[in-house]
């Protein structure tokens, strides 16, 4: 597996720990369908968040969030609808939103984690 994929996996594990530490339950990870893949689905009492995790070793090639363009965002919303359709029993009246999590630095000991809620 390429180094960049290792980095991505490591980042997603860091993201899981981040959400667990804030009282979220992990509902799903690396869920795939025809439209693409969701990195992480987490939930608390009121909301379910579809999370896109972006990991960068340095910010030299741009901020991690800059890699989420308008097309990617559009697809994330599409994926959120498809995930909900496939997991009606898990949703239970909670609202769905799309979150972004940017990890900069070594995923094992990240320099900075930034969390954007409810991307529109």
């Amino acid at each position: 597996m390429a180094r960049k994929d290792d980095l991505g996996r490591a980042g997603e594990r860091t993201a899981e720990a981040y959400f667990r530490g804030r009282g979220f339950a992990i509902l799903d990870r690396n869920w795939r369908c025809r439209s693409g893949e969701i990195d992480l689905v987490v939930a608390d009492a009121e909301t379910i968040a579809i999370v896109e995790v972006k990991t960068r070793r340095t910010a030299a090639f741009g901020h991690p969030f800059e890699a989420i363009g308008s097309q990617k965002l559009h697809r994330l919303h599409q994926l959120a609808r498809e995930w909900r359709a496939a997991h009606r029993e898990l949703v239970g009246g909670r609202t769905l939103r799309v979150d972004g999590l940017a990890i900069t630095g070594d995923p094992a000991a990240p320099l900075r984690i930034e969390h954007l809620r409810d991307l529109a």
């Binding site: 901020h63 969030f65 800059e66 989420i68 965002l73 972004g100 930034e114 954007l116 809620r117 529109a120």
Partner: protein, 506 residues
């Protein structure tokens, strides 16, 4: 603080409008939006601002920045908003004083390295900032001298974005490069144009004095080489110097035309557009950005149309309305802009297409209808507004070197005459003889006794003078009296006025 505000100035014609620049930082994916009717140059500000901030070591936050330019319905153009946008955007996350930002207008274009580049139209923009009650205006260092001409507002000349931020108490990197200097304007050394250079045209010089003293529009007809252009170019030198308001208005127009303005010139402007000029070039135009035309640049000064009969007739007739109202309003699909256009019109024309008509030692080969057509290029309504019609001939002999009037002497005479006219017209809305309407001259408090008017009344009865011409002769007569320092025109003044109205000068 996720919301920050400061001020910039948008120019519509020569009028500036204070524009509130609000920046909002929201927790969304990185984006930079500028809303509020921005044009292409202004829309590209987001790129310049992002790079300038990064290169000043104060990168913009990687979140969504929305910049709103209010009033949102006013179309805005140009790159002068860059600095205000950058400061407002940075203030959403840096501890800049909100109060200080709200009392300050920021004007300037940013380079990618964070240096501030000069923009045109600083003078009217700073005037507008002062009028809007702002305390401080930050301008490009290259425009500082120009901005400092405006009283009642503190001017800060900044070299770079880092410089501006450090004045607000934020540490930022200053670019290594030299500050951007103003484009070196080839300073037009004021030519030494003295009235004393005019030889052998003493009567024409006297007529020029009358035109200057009363503000009368002037038409000079004469063969090539008679000195028409020479005379016209010496008119600004004998006009009274501009007062503060007029000087600021004239400088604002120069600034708007992209000239570097570093001092407030008191010399009335002189514009001499070429006869191929279009109506838009003369009155102003431009499809998106209103640009002042020649008559606007000549405002408070002299508009000289050499070879007036060679101008297109529609161009000449476009002058009629501004001559009447003293201003010009340019209407385009996207905007309406008003400019001042208080100019003194000086027309010069040849007597016929070949220019030889009326000369003793030359033959005019123009057919009569060509001459008539040539003269008719100047329409009746336009000539109606011209008080003095002067016919010049070539100088026939080399005159002796003695006692010619210098510009300094002429200016003193003109100033004296203007002061007398202003004292006489103190209770009226008019300041110069040319502004006074005919009814006031004929039947107002300043009407002449019948005895003094007798030669005029006879001419009117004979039909050699129209009523409008009658008024013009009266106006010139008053100016002549003012020049001579007498309280009321004498029959001699009336006679000379009749001569200037349609006279021949040898």
């Amino acid at each position: 603080m996720s919301l920050a505000r400061t001020w910039a100035i948008s120019l519509v014609g020569i009028e500036g409008v204070a524009v509130e620049v609000e920046a909002d930082l929201s927790d969304q994916l990185p984006d930079f939006r500028i809303i509020g009717l921005a044009d292409k140059a202004l829309g590209e500000a987001s790129q310049r601002v992002r790079n300038a901030c990064a290169n000043s070591d104060v990168p913009l936050p990687s979140r969504r920045l929305t910049v709103n330019l209010s009033p949102a319905s006013l179309p805005k153009h140009g790159s002068g908003f860059d600095l205000a946008i950058a400061v407002a955007a940075l203030a959403t996350q840096l501890p800049l004083s909100a109060d200080a930002l709200l009392r300050t207008a920021h004007i300037g274009e940013l380079g990618l390295d964070g240096r501030i580049r000069p923009v045109p139209g600083i003078l009217p923009a700073v005037v507008a900032a002062a009028r809007a009650g702002l305390r401080t205006v930050v301008v490009p260092r290259a425009n500082e001298d120009e901005a400092a001409l405006v009283p009642g507002i503190a001017v800060v000349g900044a070299t770079s974005l880092g410089d501006v931020l450090s004045r607000h108490g934020i540490d930022a990197r200053l670019p290594d490069a030299e500050p951007v200097h103003a484009r070196a304007d080839q300073a037009l050394a004021p030519e030494a144009l003295d009235l004393a250079d005019v030889v052998g045209q003493d009567d024409a010089v006297a007529a020029l004095l009358v035109a200057a003293a009363g503000g009368h529009h002037l038409l000079m007809t004469g063969p090539p080489g008679a000195g028409k252009t020479m005379l016209a170019r010496r008119l600004p030198g004998i006009l009274p110097p501009l007062d503060d308001e007029a000087a600021l208005a004239a400088a604002s127009v120069r600034s708007l035309s992209g000239h570097a303005v570093t001092d407030l010139s008191r010399v009335p402007p002189f514009e001499a557009p070429h006869h191929s000029a279009s109506a838009a070039a003369l009155v102003g135009g431009g499809s998106r950005v209103p640009r002042p035309g020649a008559i606007v640049r000549a405002s408070e000064g002299v508009l000289f149309l050499d070879e007036a009969a060679e101008f297109a007739t529609n161009v000449l007739d476009a002058l009629r309305q501004p001559l009447e109202s003293g201003s010009i309003t340019v209407h385009r699909a996207g905007y309406t802009a008003s400019f001042p256009a208080r100019f003194q019109l000086v027309l010069a024309t040849n007597p016929c297409p070949c220019g030889n008509r009326g000369l003793r030692d030359a033959v005019c080969e123009c057919p009569p209808q060509a001459v008539r057509r040539y003269r008719n290029r100047l329409s009746g309504p336009l000539l109606d507004r011209v008080d003095i019609e002067l016919t010049l001939l070539r100088v026939g002999r080399v005159p002796e070197e003695r006692g010619r009037m210098s510009s300094r002497e002429g200016a003193a005479l003109v100033r004296g005459a203007r002061e007398r006219a202003m004292r006489r017209l103190a209770d009226t809305p008019w300041r110069r003889n040319v502004d006074v309407p005919g009814t006031w001259l004929r039947s107002g408090p300043g009407a002449l006794p019948p005895a003094a008017r007798a030669p005029l009344d006879r001419a009117l009865a004979r039909g050699t003078l129209t009523l409008r011409g009658y008024d013009r002769v009266l106006r010139i007569a008053w100016t002549l009296a003012d020049l001579d320092g007498v309280p009321m025109p004498t029959p001699d003044h009336i006679g000379r006025a009749l001569f200037l109205k349609r006279g021949t000068v040898s």
